[in-house]
Amino acid sequence: MYPFGDLPGNLAAFCGQLRRQHGFRLGAGELRDAARALDVIELADERHVRDALRAILSSSRDTALTFDEAFDKFFFPGPEGVPQTGMPGPARRDQRPGTDGTEEGRQRPVGDRHAETDLDEDVAGGAGQVVMGDDAATVDEQAVRIARATYSPFAAEGRASLHLSPVQAEWREAARALLRRLHLGLSRRWRPGRRGRRFDLRRTWRASLQTGGEALTARWLRRVRRSPRFVLLIDGSRSMGRADTPALDLAVAIASVTTRIEVFAFSTALQAITNQVRRAAAGRAVDVELAREAWGGGTNIGASLQSFLRRHGERHVGRDTLVMILSDGLDVGEPDILRAAMRELHRQSAGVVWLNPLLETPGFEPTSRGMVAAWPFITTFSSVSNPTGLNRLSRLIRLR
């Protein structure tokens, strides 16, 4: 039943599997704690062991929610499952759906379904392995027919490759200027400074020890300026065409001057590309493999923003967040969904900047359905195609 004969061996193997297959961050410390915990608790009680290991080995909501599945898969591997053949469909899922009946479990608005079903589809497969047997060819024709029948303007199949070039000096300078110009007021934290508004008794007193208890030089405290967090939502749909290159350059440029940035690509569904953008910002050319739902498919801005808010809003959007949406606003979803999502983004953030590459076209008016729906909630509407454009933008942005 178990891959190893002894408990420590199994525990180590389980940790290894969590690390490799489920993205847990585990080191020797966690393994030692787990072993110590198994010493304390009732080993015969499976639930008890499971709860204890979950508390020790998981470190965030996502890992805590995937833990049970991984635990079952390792300690109670079921039968291999009936081989499934020939059905077309995406092979990966990057976001795990909520199993606790909280946020993700909530009823979704109608339009949102399109965005998420594609990514969640293979959940039903569970531990069963997809095996491409010999009989795959015979059902091939039928599969094509099914694929055609399930075509929708939202869906796109296969994968897209996305190239992130390393940051260039001009972009970096422009991003630095942007960061310098963006004010969020003063933090409530006091820091020592040469000049400040509050007398620093502690440091003055410490300094006075050098002069025999006489305070000769006054020390001061000042408030530090708060810099905003950034969330970039980049439209990767076909309609954006080549206009997405400056959008990616912009993301990489901002990531090269601040770590407080999250980047997401969306087309009909959302995918985080923050890590890859950070790598590009560190000076490496990065090729990103993305699902077609996130890059190069149709456009469903409203649903993508909704799913962003639901999955990541809590953590990444606050009163100190500047949300930048880089999109042409040609939305095929329901305008109501886009309007509701924009209202939420506007309410929760320090400002919503919409960068529309079409603005570069002479005579462009933002009259598309999507743009009209989003319009009341945009604090700054502009476009950026080069570092000069970013410099101009940094003078335009007003934060709350």
Partner: protein
């Protein structure tokens, strides 16, 4: 206190319902002497659990409420400068050597202990609650790391103070910002979601003793439905308890449409959410007893002259 079952019973005695996962996490936390980080939506009892733990262990609860701008001086320690200066002035003519005077000035007498240091210097392991740690600045997490990993605080003038009795540490977070991996790795982790239907019933029974079974059932069911709606601010356990209390104090035995409208303020805290609930009437309807509200001054009240009439006759 050792086993998870024991923890469950003793929490239950104090009106706090914990599930197996929570009880086990508390057990492990004490066995491994590691801090426990609890994340979850607002109003599911994260803070309350620390208070109850302190009661159960019969020990002191030391609370550090985090906020933006919280610094080491308000969390760890501060010197009492006025007293130090006074002492320095008074001891000027005492003839003591400089080293002696310095040692006196920077002694524990002049140290103001803030919550973290306070927790390390207790005679019995206290419960240290670091509440809403996500509200503090990222820089503040660095201060916490030394305390949580080494159970010690370094004061330059005084040296390192080690905990004689390690505190039981509970950190809570509402996930308004991502906590650093370094902090997470030093903690056990517990995700505390909204309670299930049965758990919520149990909580209502434990916390609102006079509540009828039928009403508790209705409230718990409605809460499940409400949390399923796309609300801006989903109601937590605190809200359902408030609601139960409100219904009790209004002497309502049934939950009908009118009562719901009157008391919805206990549950929904954002104006827009009312419109959402209005739009999802159909989802809620099955859980309302749609009997009309009782007529108050009807029937026999007006016909009899019991009262004013009989007084005038006398």
């Amino acid at each position: 206190m050792t086993s998870a079952a024991d923890i469950r019973t003793r929490f239950r005695e104090r009106g706090f319902v914990v599930d197996d996962a929570f009880a086990t996490a508390l057990e492990i936390m004490q066995a491994l002497q590691k801090p426990l980080l609890i994340e979850g939506p607002a109003g599911v009892g994260k803070t309350e659990s620390a208070k109850v733990l302190a009661e159960v262990l019969d020990t002191r609860l030391i609370r550090l409420q985090c906020y933006e701008g919280l610094d080491a001086m308000s969390a760890l320690y501060e010197w009492n400068y006025p007293r130090q200066m006074l002492h320095a002035r008074l001891s000027e003519t005492s003839g003591a050597s400089f080293e002696q005077r310095e040692a006196e000035i920077f002694s524990e007498t002049y140290l103001l202990k803030r919550p973290l240091l306070e927790a390390l210097t207790q005679d019995q392991s206290p419960v240290l609650l670091i509440d809403e740690v996500d509200r503090a600045d990222e820089a503040f997490e660095a201060y916490l790391l030394e305390v949580l990993a080494e159970w010690q605080v370094t004061i330059p003038e005084l040296g390192t103070i080690r905990a004689s009795h390690r505190p039981h540490v509970i950190l809570t977070s509402n996930r308004t910002r991502e906590l650093s991996d370094a902090l997470r790795r030093r903690c056990l982790f517990l995700w505390l979601p909204y309670p299930s239907l049965d758990q919520e019933m149990e909580i209502l029974r434990a916390r609102v003793p006079g509540l009828s079974e039928r009403l508790a059932d209705r409230i718990a069911h409605l809460m499940q439905v409400l949390r399923g709606l796309p609300l801006q601010k989903a109601p937590g356990v605190a809200e359902s308890l408030d609601w139960a209390m409100a219904l009790m104090s209004l002497h309502r035995e049934h939950l009908d449409t009118r009562t719901l409208e009157q008391t919805l303020g206990c549950v929904l805290k954002v104006h827009e959410d009312r419109a959402v609930v209005e739009a999802h009437r159909q989802a809620i309807a099955p859980y309302l007893s749609d009997s009309p509200p009782p007529v108050e001054a009807g029937g026999y009240g007006l016909d009899t002259d019991f009262g004013i009439g009989s007084v005038t006759r006398r």
